[in-house]
């Protein structure tokens, strides 16, 4: 498309990004495995797999099942522990010139705090606090399912983490009222919100007649969940309009990414699509830029939350644009 160039830079609180496309936690390891396919420094950023204090084996296999337009996973946060992560993964990312979002997960508030402290001086652009994981102190209930537990973790991490690094709370869609949880973590000091994590799902293996996953239930991701993710972004943008959102859930193309931006996301993460197409994140940058240009946007920032405007407000925006919109 020979369309006018669009300014696609964006920001997630104080983190400035040349483009709004990142990987999703757990879907790009720590970036290195994607480097045969593209230069990871060209992305908006790499979001690393949620790391915990100690090494962790994760769940038993089978760990995945394909489902219609989606997949279930039950990895169980397998990882090398934060020390090894800093020494090998974060170092590699830093040397590669990649913008880096470090995702952390804990069994309890103390572990989240310990992680924030351990990472205090490490090179990173944003800290994503994965509170969509089970809280061992509350019968394994997921932190982000309980406004109080979520608040406690986020305020503690905000105090413990380097004040120059924005922290984003990552929410699960498996709650009755995601806007309520969003307001709670915003008040607790989150600089932004990442959403959504996977939906809890299950598949029965018709050969074994038992649940297909070793972990019984697993997390549903991929295009199947995109409408749920978009609804969550829409609702959270309405609940906390001042907070930047990192949107994700089933993004495969620039058009999909644009829906998230219009619904209120300042940037997007590409997760499961990477399994199908390792170059998806880099392709989506170009596609999104073309889609914005084709609709007459002069910058990505103008498109953030645009779908919440009335038709009149939208028309006024385009009327004020000097560039002639292509294809409208």
């Amino acid at each position: 498309m020979g369309t006018p160039t669009v300014d696609i830079s964006t920001s997630l609180a104080s983190f400035e990004l040349p483009n709004p496309v990142l990987t999703a936690s757990g879907c790009a390891a720590a970036g290195r495995e994607l480097s045969p396919f593209f230069d990871v420094a060209e992305l908006g950023g790499i979001v690393t797999k949620s790391i915990m204090m100690k090494p962790r084996s994760g769940r038993s296999t089978p760990r995945m099942a394909e489902t219609p337009s989606g997949m279930l996973n039950s990895i169980g946060l397998q990882g090398p522990g934060v020390d090894s992560f800093i020494e090998h993964d974060l170092k590699w990312l830093h040397e590669s010139g990649a913008r880096t979002v470090v995702s952390i997960a804990g069994h309890n508030t103390d572990e989240f705090v310990a992680l924030a402290r351990r990472l205090y001086d490490q090179p990173m652009d944003l800290l994503e606090v994965n509170i969509s994981c089970p809280n061992v102190e509350n019968r394994g209930q997921v932190f982000a399912c309980d406004a109080i537990a979520a608040t406690r973790v986020i305020s503690a991490v905000r105090r413990a983490a380097n004040p120059n690094v924005p922290i984003f709370a990552k929410l699960t869609p498996d709650v009755t009222d995601i806007g309520y949880i969003a307001r709670a973590v915003a008040e607790a000091g989150a600089d932004g919100i990442s959403l959504i994590n996977t939906l809890l799902g299950l598949v029965i293996d018709l050969d074994t007649l038992r649940p297909a996953l070793g972990g019984v239930t697993g997390g549903l991701s991929g295009p199947a969940i995109r409408p749920v993710a978009l609804r969550c972004v829409w609702q959270v943008h309405q609940a906390v309009p001042h907070l930047p959102l990192l949107g994700m859930g089933g993004i495969k193309t620039g058009k999909d990414a644009l829906q998230f931006i219009l619904a209120g996301a300042s940037a997007v993460s590409v997760g499961t699509a990477v399994f199908h197409d390792p170059t998806a994140p880099i392709r989506i940058i170009a596609e999104l830029s073309d889609e914005l240009a084709a609709r007459g946007f002069s910058s990505l920032r103008d498109a953030i939350g645009f779908a919440h405007l009335s038709s009149e407000q939208q028309a006024a925006y385009f009327a004020a644009q000097t560039a002639v919109p292509v294809g409208r």
């Binding site: 390891a29 100690k54 296999t61 990895i75 169980g76 397998q78 199908h276």
Partner: protein, 288 residues
């Protein structure tokens, strides 16, 4: 054992050059110079299935063989497909001239001995496929090679003709006796090892067979290098779905990704009995 630095995997669109039915299997020959270039025996290719607007999100993996980096079929790859579910059935409906979206070559190849050593190769079902190019390499190195191929029944045998052409002879077993000798590939294995004075066994096939081959090799105090087939979401090492409990050099067991740290493993290091569980002494098991 040598450990070459390999060119990384590439993503490319390959045109189907030939489709041939072989018993219950179908052999595809695809023009894919990028995949062919880096290939070493034991590696695999991950193929997008279902076309645009498909509900099948994940790639399907197939062991590579018959890769021709130069010569007549320059830049082609071959693999064989058995019908299983939606993805393989879609592949089996592809025709000459259709294109496939490929990522490869993926995984760690079979480690090769530094010098020529006698080797027995054991293939189960389509698991014979990656052993064919391996046999060629070993023979070119001057190694003595024997091959045993087995399957549940005659129509599920694969590659016994090619093996015969490459090696000169091949031992065939079928569970039901419809071809070769009745029984399992592990039945003729001990005598093959002994006859040849084999110093290594290579195998590819179902998990149960690989375990049994590993045990026979172990009983002869020689290593078995086996290519496993774990369910894989990404194939490139980013998702952690494809792990196996594997013991490393200093005795520590970890969940290891079979897509990038395998699919070829030393059978003696795989904790076969613990596959599908989280053994208590696994590295990080207490972190769960």
């Amino acid at each position: 054992m040598t450990s070459d630095v390999l060119p990384g995997p590439v993503q490319e669109t390959g045109e189907i050059f030939d489709v041939t039915r072989l018993g219950e299997y179908t052999q595809f020959t695809v023009v894919a110079p990028g995949v062919a270039r880096g290939f070493k025996p034991g590696q695999f290719v991950a193929i997008a299935v279902g076309g645009r607007d498909t509900s099948m999100l994940l790639r399907r993996s197939f062991a590579l063989y018959g890769v021709q980096p130069g010569a007549e079929f320059a830049g082609t790859i071959q693999f064989v497909v058995a019908a299983k579910g939606g993805g393989t059935e879609w592949l089996l409906r592809r025709q000459i001239g259709d294109t496939l979206d490929l990522v490869g070559p993926l995984g760690v190849p079979f480690p090769l001995p530094r010098a020529s050593v006698p080797a027995v190769l054991v293939g189960g079902g389509y698991g014979t496929a990656p052993l064919l190019p391996l046999a060629q390499v070993l023979l070119a190195q001057g190694s003595d090679v024997e091959m045993i191929v087995g399957a549940a029944t005659a129509s599920r045998l694969f590659g016994e003709m090619q093996a015969k052409r490459i090696i000169g002879k091949v031992t065939v077993t079928t569970d039901d006796g419809t071809a070769g000798q009745r029984g399992w590939v592990t039945d003729p294995l001990p005598s093959a090892i002994e006859r040849l004075g084999a110093e290594i066994v290579y195998a590819c096939g179902p998990m149960g067979m690989l375990r049994a081959v590993g045990e026979v090799a172990g009983a002869h105090a020689i290593p078995a290098q086996v290519a496993v087939e774990e369910s894989m979401a990404c194939g490139i090492g980013v998702c952690m779905t494809c792990v196996l409990p594997v013991r490393d050099g200093d005795g520590v067991s970890r969940f290891v990704r079979s897509c990038v740290e395998g699919p070829v493993f030393d059978a003696g290091r795989i904790r076969w009995a613990d596959v599908g569980t989280v053994p208590a002494d696994l590295f990080g098991a207490d972190g769960n």
